[in-house]
């Protein structure tokens, strides 16, 4: 028996995607994969915004999702630029080998 999909379904899905992305950010060593996990987290945010936009019956959530996508593009571009600079100077992409500021 299939129940009709409510906003709660979308929120739980968004929470699951957030958890997967956070595990990726915290546990992976490869910086490229960490940046991809950040994209997953931002997509979880977008699912939430769209679900509430539909729930409340106006499009403000969709406009905010557009802003989130804009910030995600800027973040990906700058992050990958930093990654290239880092690889050129340190020749590593492992997050735990870059520990100059580690206490």
């Amino acid at each position: 028996m299939l129940h009709p999909v409510t906003t709660t379904h979308y929120l739980v899905l968004s929470a699951a995607l957030l958890a997967i992305g956070t595990i990726g950010v915290l546990a992976r060593r490869n910086i490229v994969v960490i940046l991809m996990a950040i994209e997953l987290i931002l997509n979880a945010v977008n699912i939430n915004l769209i679900a509430f936009s539909r729930h409340l019956g106006h499009v403000h959530g969709q406009v905010f999702a557009i802003f989130v996508i804009t910030v995600a593009v800027a973040e990906a571009a700058v992050g990958l630029g930093i990654l290239i600079a880092l690889f050129r100077t340190r020749a590593t992409v492992q997050a735990d080998e870059i520990n100059l500021l580690k206490w």
């Binding site: 379904h9 997967i20 490229v32 406009v63 290239i84």
Partner: protein, 168 residues
């Protein structure tokens, strides 16, 4: 109604499976392909939620733009050596425990308040298409944030060009 439910579970499965594969794959190119799968699933969810403009933006910008950027960087950065090394940091079990605790809390709170989240009222009648509505709000009510976003993008362009130069 059941078509909506079926497609929701289909896209949710695609999204979550793509996400899990993205985080767990050893090869970064495989991770990128899985991320594309996940992003397409999210685009499908946007379409189910009547956000057609964001569906198009998701496909064109994310799948077409950001993922090509990722694949170019994977090509520029030599990841063969990284693929042979240990993939997860030493405290991965701690990270997993913390994230599972937070996720359990979120799901508990959502289930407590799930009565408030049903689609009680009927959908308002659409005044024009989705693109029209989004543009109306974006260019009237959110004009200043929209212009600030262009400044942010300019800063990001300059920053990434500076970062990718030979001598910083």
């Amino acid at each position: 109604m059941w078509v909506d439910t079926f497609f929701f579970y289909l896209f949710a499965l695609v999204t979550l499976a793509g996400g899990v594969l993205t985080v767990t794959r050893r090869n970064a190119v495989h991770s990128a392909m899985s991320l594309i799968l996940s992003l397409i699933g999210v685009a499908g969810l946007f379409l189910l939620q009547r956000a057609e403009f964001l569906f198009a933006v998701q496909i064109v910008l994310y799948v077409g733009g950001i993922m090509v950027l990722f694949l170019f960087v994977i090509m520029l950065v030599n990841l063969d050596q990284a693929a042979r090394m240990r993939q997860f940091s030493g405290q991965w079990w701690l990270a997993l425990a913390c994230v599972l605790a937070v996720a359990a809390q979120i799901v508990y709170v959502l289930s407590r308040g799930s009565g408030a989240f049903r689609f009680a009222r009927p959908e308002p009648p659409a005044r024009g298409g989705n693109v029209e509505l989004v543009a109306d709000v974006l260019f009237k009510q959110y004009l200043l944030p929209f212009e600030l976003a262009s400044v942010l993008l300019l800063a990001a362009i300059v920053g990434s060009v500076i970062m990718a130069r030979k001598r910083i």
